[in-house]
């Protein structure tokens, strides 16, 4: 089976493949920076599926809706492939139902990937490297940076805490593990 995944999930999916012995899975990742351009996700996924599916029995798309507003789900339905349920990775790492029940509107979430790539994916695209005075225009309505930890890594936790300080937010860490990413891949 081919798994087409967001690059932000690469390390986690490879870890799961190793831990669960999923030798039947081949992983192809799309650039994680599409996270910042959700309008480009569905076309990129469709192109990747179309280009590669002939070599596999099945294809699974390891994306949630990810801000596509249903476009990715429509593409996957048209392609006859399945994808991960839920609005985004923050939801499937915690469990979609549990995440929605929390209703945390003032929390800003970082995963292991985003903690590592914070400057490239958050700080610089928002122009905060050049204009730190814009920080509160972006984050003034948030209260807390929630670090959703897929791995138990004190260095990453410390880095996440420093990101919270840079954003002027409170800090909370939740050890989610791989959450519904693991269950979705197991069922696929």
């Amino acid at each position: 089976m081919l798994v087409i995944a967001c690059g932000a999930l690469a390390r986690e999916i490879l870890a799961l493949i190793g831990q669960r012995g999923w030798d039947h899975l081949d992983l192809h990742c799309l650039p994680a920076i599409l996270h910042n351009r959700p309008d480009r996700i569905a076309p990129a996924v469709e192109a990747a599926v179309t280009a590669r599916r002939d070599r596999y029995d099945r294809v699974f798309v390891a994306y949630a809706d990810c801000g596509t507003g249903g476009d990715l789900a429509r593409s996957c339905a048209r392609l006859g492939v399945e994808m991960i349920e839920g609005p985004h990775c923050y939801a499937f790492y915690e469990g979609v139902a549990a995440f929605e029940a929390k209703g945390e509107v003032t929390c800003f979430y970082l995963t292991d990937f985003l903690v590592r790539q914070f400057d490239a994916f958050v700080w610089e695209p928002l122009g905060l490297d050049r204009h730190p005075e814009l920080r509160d225009m972006y984050f003034g309505n948030y209260t807390t940076l929630v670090y959703q930890a897929q791995t138990d890594d004190p260095a990453l936790t410390d880095l996440a805490r420093r990101h919270a300080e840079r954003l002027g937010l409170g800090f909370e860490r939740r050890l989610t593990g791989y959450g519904e990413l693991e269950t979705a891949l197991a069922r696929a």
């Binding site: 959700p38 809706d65 801000g67 596509t68 507003g69 249903g70 609005p87 209703g103 509107v105 003032t106 928002l126 122009g127 905060l128 050049r130 204009h131 814009l134 225009m137 972006y138 309505n141 948030y142």
Partner: protein
Amino acid sequence: MQAVSETTATDAPIRALIRPKDIARPEECRDMADEDDLILSELDDEELVAQMFDDLYDGLRDEIMEATQILLDRGWAPYDVLTKALVGGMTIVGNDFRDGILFVPEVLLAANAMKGGMSILKPLLAETDAPRMGKMVIGTVKGDIHDIGKNLVAMMMEGAGFEIVDLGINNAVESYLEALAREKADILGMSALLTTTMPYMKVVIDTMKEQGIRDDYIVLVGGAPLNEEFGRAIGADAYCRDAAVAVETAKDWISRRHNQMQAGA
């Protein structure tokens, strides 16, 4: 940049800004200094407005505030400074954002500069007979705390002569409807940045229909994940892709309403 203070005959201090036009390497500064230094107060009106367009584009708040005061001191009506200099300059910023030349950080800096100018003009506009276009209640929907786009729309709508009642973020339907009634507003503006919160706009519009008040208001919606199709599907009057479109759309709908009311009279 070097600020030099001098006092005019009216005792109102005017600060002349000496600023290199382009950022040059230090070894070039000496040669470039004479031809590129710019003193805002020495520019004629046309040149000063053009410079304000550039300074808005570059997000230079202090310069915009300085130039705003210079135009007022020269006898410009506050409404003309607002529309010809500030709104004119922000329109260029909006066009370049739409065309992918400028991005969100630059637009925010430009908006911040415009707000600086408007902070000087707003008290003066309230005292004058600046044309009033209508009243808009605006807010981000329930569950959504993002307000950058909403704030830009509110600012540009104020610049266009609309009175704005800004409800802020995370607004439930009751908040919108209470404000519309209390303020006797003409327009409801709803904003969302998340695909998970934008469906709430339909909740608000459906509630308005249930209460028989949908047709009493113009409903405009906007936000990054929205599009024309979504706006139509939820029963809004229009989807506005950016602040400039919101202003033109609002003016158009207000004009249509006035024409309808006159035709019915």
